[in-house]
């Protein structure tokens, strides 16, 4: 049923190919099959000129990928046998084949020349292709086996995987370059040398030919479209965000695809991923939690990648991306003054204030600082910390005019990075300054007496 064939060059005869080629035989071949393309693996001694040209003659072959040492005018396979070089007679079968193995320098002359000869599209490095790696001769089942080479593998084969998913060669190339850039950023913290290699590689990895070229759609191969949306909720009391990702996979023929979706959510708080099976209606849903330290806006990048399904029919993988910003949110609070009393001591008035601080759910808030202010004119303030049950007690003193008998006191919680601020106010009554009143009365009495005596003397 699957009739799109891709030739995978995998020579295996010295260190670079011992490092790279096992991933072509394992991971790359598996991923191509998952995308309804059949890898034609030219492994070790089969990576020779005769087998390559025979494979290209097959009317169902539409691409050449893999690896090989190269120079400006050609590329070699097993034991440095020249596979293809500028000046070869390019037979008509080549004119349906995308040519993009990983190789040094072939972007300078070989690949542009192939395109001139009628090859629809190709990718080639215009300088050397540099890489880093940890392991020789891995099993090659997953890039995760090699924590350095994985950056190159994930980036490079994005082109072929996307092409097999049905996009144009130009779109697949753009996705590959973007993935090189993304992988470079990931590698930056791990190893600057690997970062440097990735940057040099993508900057010099050039596309040639028809950006609109597509692999043909084989019978039984059904394109799909992934739709995704994400919603986030900030839980400031728990200091975490809950991100819910939901979506569906739609087949172009209206049937319901089977298979799995891998959802990945990335933010400055970290990365989470999970694979979930599609429901009977093609939908999926997954929930992630992210802990945070600071209550600030967080942007989440969400990718949902449908891995395809090969059965009686072949559903081609697809993916979708979206972003989501979860805004900082504070928990409302309620501060209540429960009791406020005042005692006059001459010009000074001493206030005693007690109250309680709770959140919007009525839960007492302990260890929070409450400011208590005696108002009118020049203010006086003090601070108290709330106890386990959210209560606080504070005293503050302030001078008032002798005849003033009431004043406002305020209690205020300014808030923090979890809780909103709140405040309360009471008008508190207190007596006038009796000492001053007595003096005033005595003075008035004396003045009246003096006035009476003066009047008596005059009369």
């Amino acid at each position: 049923m699957v009739v799109v064939k891709l030739v995978v060059l995998a020579p295996y005869y010295e260190i670079a190919t011992y490092i790279w080629s096992p991933y072509l035989r394992g991971w790359v071949a598996k991923e191509l099959r998952a995308r309804c393309a059949e890898p034609v693996l030219l492994w070790a001694d089969d990576a020779n000129r005769r087998k390559l040209w025979e494979a290209v003659k097959d009317t169902e072959t539409y691409g050449v990928l893999g690896v090989g040492h190269g120079w400006e005018k050609g590329i070699v396979g097993q034991k440095d046998e020249v596979l293809l070089r500028v000046g070869d007679e390019i037979t008509p079968e080549w004119k349906k084949v995308v040519f993009a193995p990983v190789s040094c320098l072939v972007g300078k002359e070989l690949v542009p020349w192939l395109v001139e000869q009628g090859v629809p599209a190709g990718i080639g490095e215009v300088t050397e292709y540099w890489f880093t790696a940890e392991k020789i001769n891995p099993s090659g089942e997953s890039p995760e086996e090699d924590q350095l080479l994985k950056y190159f593998l994930y980036a490079e084969y994005t082109f072929w995987f996307r092409l097999a998913e049905g996009v144009t060669a130009g779109e697949a190339y753009d996705a590959m370059i973007a993935e090189y850039q993304r992988q470079a950023e990931l590698a930056k913290q791990v190893d600057p040398m690997t970062y440097r290699c990735l940057v040099v590689d993508w900057q010099n990895r050039k596309f040639f030919g028809d950006r609109n070229y597509k692999l043909p759609l084989a019978p039984g191969r059904i394109l799909t479209r992934t739709e995704v949306s994400a919603a986030g909720k900030r839980l400031p009391k728990d200091r975490r965000d809950v991100v819910t990702v939901a979506g569906r996979v739609v087949a172009e023929d209206g049937s319901v695809p089977r298979g799995w979706v891998t959802v990945r959510v990335v933010s400055k708080l970290g990365e989470r991923s999970d694979s979930v099976a599609l429901g009977e209606d093609g939908t999926f849903s997954v929930v992630f939690e992210f802990q945070w330290e600071r209550n600030e806006d967080v942007e989440y990048s969400v990718t949902a990648a449908y891995g395809g399904w090969v059965g009686e029919r072949c559903y081609v993988p697809s993916r979708a991306e979206t972003t989501l910003t979860v805004k900082s949110t504070l928990v409302p609070t309620l501060l209540r003054i429960e009791k406020a009393v005042a005692v006059r001591d001459g010009p000074l008035v001493h206030f005693g204030v007690s109250g309680v601080l709770r959140d919007a759910d009525g839960v007492p808030l302990a260890g929070k600082v409450v400011e208590v202010v005696a108002g009118d004119g020049e203010i006086r303030r003090t601070w108290a910390e709330t106890r386990e049950d959210g209560t606080f007690v504070a005293e503050v003193s302030k001078s008032y005019p002798p005849l003033q008998t009431k004043a406002a006191v305020y209690a205020r919680f300014k808030g923090d990075d979890t809780y909103q601020g709140s405040e309360d106010m009471r008008i508190v009554a207190f007596p006038p300054n009796w000492d001053f009143v007595k003096i005033l009365v005595a003075a008035a009495t004396a003045a009246a007496l003096l006035l009476a005596l003066l009047l008596a003397a005059l009369l």
Partner: protein
């Protein structure tokens, strides 16, 4: 101890000011860089896929290979210097 940035800077100086910065000075920076690497990176490989000439070296062997192999040295310096 030399960082990767210092290694890049040394390569640039060697390319741009060959009279004021010697190859020996560059190789000493390489040695310092290699010595500053964690063990797993010292044991890791750096490779380049050039046709008839090809090279994959363990990073801990970089100072020796750079002394012994002028072609690799030339390519490595220009890779670092960004030319």
């Amino acid at each position: 101890m030399a960082s990767f940035e210092e290694l890049v800077e040394a390569a640039r100086r060697l390319v741009e000011q060959p009279l004021s910065f010697s190859l020996e000075s560059f190789l000493r920076v390489v040695e310092d860089y290699v010595n500053s690497l964690p063990e797993n990176l010292k044991e890791s490989y750096l490779g380049v896929m050039v046709g008839p000439y090809r090279k994959v070296v363990k990073r801990k062997d970089l100072p020796r290979v750079l002394r012994e192999d002028p072609e690799f040295r030339e390519r490595f310096i220009h890779f670092l210097a960004g030319e």
